[in-house]
């Protein structure tokens, strides 16, 4: 399996233009011990992010996409067991001492979270929080750090930054808070920004603004950007490459246009088919049957087989590895032999079974 993965990596490197990846995750596993039991939330994630590349990670809530990235940064809780390899600029992060991880977090790799309401400290001014990020990694005076905070607020297009810098988070709107969080994240010119559902908690119009702020920063600062989301629309519009995560594993990885035009994993097909479409009027919106397996209660074989319309006997017995199918990757036994994809066909097939979820 590992041989396959490393050949997979070389393929990804070629695609990114002969550069070594900025972030390279191999076989990342995260387990949690709880009351004697052990659950694996992440069961082997492989992912590469090149410098300046935007990678989308898509999956349902609980699929392990956030936990995986938190684990890569050493931000999981104390009862988590993290194994596998996370290399950042060739430097192994798994098992790195906390003191050294702190020098990387916020300086070279920044991460922002879903809810801008709660990701800012309510009793500190926004400026103080941005200045803190600056002062944690740069030797500057308090005054210089505050000046930099104003600059950063300006960079994320917050009006009147000189006044805003002294305000508290509750005086900011949701979208402005997320801008402030982004400003804080890019305070030390990181190489990589991981955005965990950055727009989920926001209004649709604000979502678009935040995404455009993220994109323009990404282009201007040459950031590698990892967009964790459950929204395929966000991925379609902004990512260069997409990794689809199901039940703690990457099940498909491909360039964004390839993925949407010809998904080679049944789960990806289900996800794409369930995007509401205005052009094709369908009576019901498609949804994948069943629900994702609970932690620690994985079915044998391929984790997706109980919900898969293409499942055969082999799927119940063998868990397919993520393998190269020509510059892209899929973890399906039938990745190369799946019928041509058309979302309407999939929906009809499901309707014929008479088992469409409401």
């Amino acid at each position: 399996m590992s041989a396959q993965i490393y050949s997979a990596q070389s393929g990804a490197v070629d695609k990114a233009g002969e550069r070594a990846p900025l972030l390279s995750i191999r076989g990342l596993r995260v387990g949690f011990r709880r009351a004697g039991d052990q659950f694996e939330a992440v069961r082997g994630i492989d992912l590469d992010v090149a410098k300046g590349e935007v990678v989308g990670i898509v999956g349902e809530s609980g699929s392990g996409k956030s936990v995986g990235m938190l684990a890569a940064l050493g931000l999981t809780s104390k009862n988590a067991v993290v194994t596998g390899s996370v290399r950042f600029n060739g430097d192994e992060l798994v098992g790195k001492p906390a003191r050294e991880m702190r020098k990387i977090r916020g300086a070279r790799i920044a991460m922002i979270f879903q809810d801008p309401l709660s990701s800012l400290n309510p009793v500190m001014t926004v400026g103080a929080q941005i200045a803190e990020a600056v002062r944690l990694h740069q030797r500057v005076t308090r005054k210089q750090a505050m000046a930099r905070a104003v600059e950063l607020l300006h960079l994320v297009a917050i009006p009147q930054p000189e006044r805003r810098v002294n305000q508290y988070p509750h005086e900011f709107s949701g979208g402005m808070r997320q801008r402030a969080v982004i400003a804080m994240a890019v305070a030390n010119d990181p190489d990589l920004l991981i955005a965990d559902e950055p727009t989920t908690a926001l209004d649709v119009t604000v979502q678009a603004q935040i995404l455009s702020v993220l994109r323009s920063l990404q282009e201007r600062l040459g950031l590698g950007l990892v967009l964790i989301t459950h929204d395929l629309g966000v991925v379609a519009g902004h990512a260069d490459r997409v990794a689809v995560v199901y039940s703690g594993r990457v099940v498909e990885q491909a360039g964004v246009s390839e993925l949407f035009a010809d998904p080679r994993h049944p789960y990806t097909r289900g996800l794409i088919a369930s995007i509401p479409n205005l052009e094709e009027s369908r009576e019901r919106l498609f949804s994948i049957d069943g629900s994702p397996p609970a932690l620690g209660r994985l079915p044998g074989g391929c984790a997706f087989h109980p919900r898969c319309i293409y499942a055969e006997a082999r799927c119940r017995a063998e868990d397919p590895p993520l393998h190269d199918i020509g510059g892209r990757f899929s973890a399906c036994h039938f990745a190369t032999t799946l019928p041509p994809f058309h979302s309407a066909v999939l929906a009809t097939a499901s309707l014929d079974n008479g088992s469409v979820a409401p």
Partner: protein, 326 residues
């Protein structure tokens, strides 16, 4: 605020009138009680022959000019008595609060951070004992161990009676002796203060550590803590600067409440340690049905509550910027 003060005064005054005891027993010697002339004279002397509303008005009038009346027992002005007693209590309560709050916060933070560890269980046990052991038990026990058996600490009292005391500037013996540069008195007063302050502070630290632990657990799971870690902040910084500051509002409430409560509630501790403070004064007054003293103590206790509440409210604004809007 003025209405609250008036309310306290009125209630304190009325409570004394509905109690069964006859204040005359405090004034007139027992053998003289059957002598109507003496009784009438005493009544007239203390104004007890006048109707209640009139007595109330007179009391209010005196109060406005700062006169709390004369104690039946000490025959001194109640205000003077209280001014003599209050600093002793305040010194004890301040010491207990500083000790109890510091210990409570430190234990609460450690217990929350190392949840379900030995530290957590130890802190819980310490808090449980602190808030459930009666002070007359823990106080006497500690006195027995440290003063009687080990002889490390002095016995009851505020200071060795043989020492010449420094001029009273603040009324706090420790501070006054420091101001006067009198190290002997300072050391002696501090050693005397240690045990009663520990006993009182222990009860407070129990409450505070449980509260801080619960709030810290809540705050530590919030996303801004994750954000702080993602910024590269050290664990110490995450816990103290980000998390602890967010638990300060409920903690301040309890600190304020405990402080006000201790000013009049340190009765048992003061009695055990022969501390010449408000608590022991209140006990003496109540025992002798010394109404002016009882009312005076009640008013001062009520005022202490009001003032600490006011200070707590002001500190809320510092601790929680969201309050500042209104």
């Amino acid at each position: 605020m003025p209405f609250l003060v008036l309310g306290i005064v009125t209630i304190a005054f009325l409570i004394t009138t509905v109690t069964k005891g006859d204040p005359l027993t405090a004034i007139v010697a027992e053998q003289q009680m059957s002598n109507p002339e003496v009784v009438a004279a005493a009544k007239a002397r203390w104004g007890l022959d006048r109707p209640l509303p009139e007595r109330y008005m007179i009391y209010l009038g005196n109060l406005l000019s700062g006169d709390l009346g004369t104690s039946f027992i000490t025959k001194r002005n109640v205000g003077t008595d209280i001014l003599y007693r209050l600093p002793a209590t305040l010194e004890l309560v301040f010491a207990a609060m500083i000790f109890g709050t510091t210990l409570g916060i430190v234990l609460g933070v450690l217990a929350a951070y190392f949840r379900n560890s030995l530290i957590d269980h130890g802190a819980r046990l310490f808090a449980l004992f602190g808030s459930s052991l009666p002070v007359f038990w823990s106080g006497l026990g500690l006195l027995f161990i440290f003063s009687v058996t080990l002889n490390w600490l002095p016995g009851p009292g505020r200071v060795d009676a043989r020492l010449a005391l420094p001029p009273g500037i603040t009324g706090f013996l420790t501070i006054d002796s420091l101001l006067a540069g009198d190290w002997t008195v300072f050391k002696d007063a501090l050693w005397h203060l240690l045990l009663p302050a520990f006993v009182l502070g222990w009860t407070v630290s129990g409450t505070i550590s449980r509260l801080v632990r619960a709030n810290m657990l809540d705050v530590m799971s919030r996303e801004f803590v994750l954000t702080a870690r993602a910024k590269g902040a050290s664990e110490f910084r995450v816990v103290i600067v980000h998390a602890l500051r967010n638990t300060m509002v409920p903690t301040l409430t309890v600190i304020g409440y405990s402080f006000a409560y201790l000013i009049t509630g340190a009765v048992l501790t003061e009695t055990i340690f022969s501390w010449p403070g408000m608590g022991s004064y209140a006990v003496e007054a109540a025992r002798a049905l010394d109404f002016p003293a009882i009312i005076g103590v009640t008013i001062v206790g009520g005022l202490a509550f009001l003032i600490t509440n006011l200070i707590t409210d002001i500190l809320y604004v510092v601790a929680n910027p969201r309050v500042r809007l209104s």
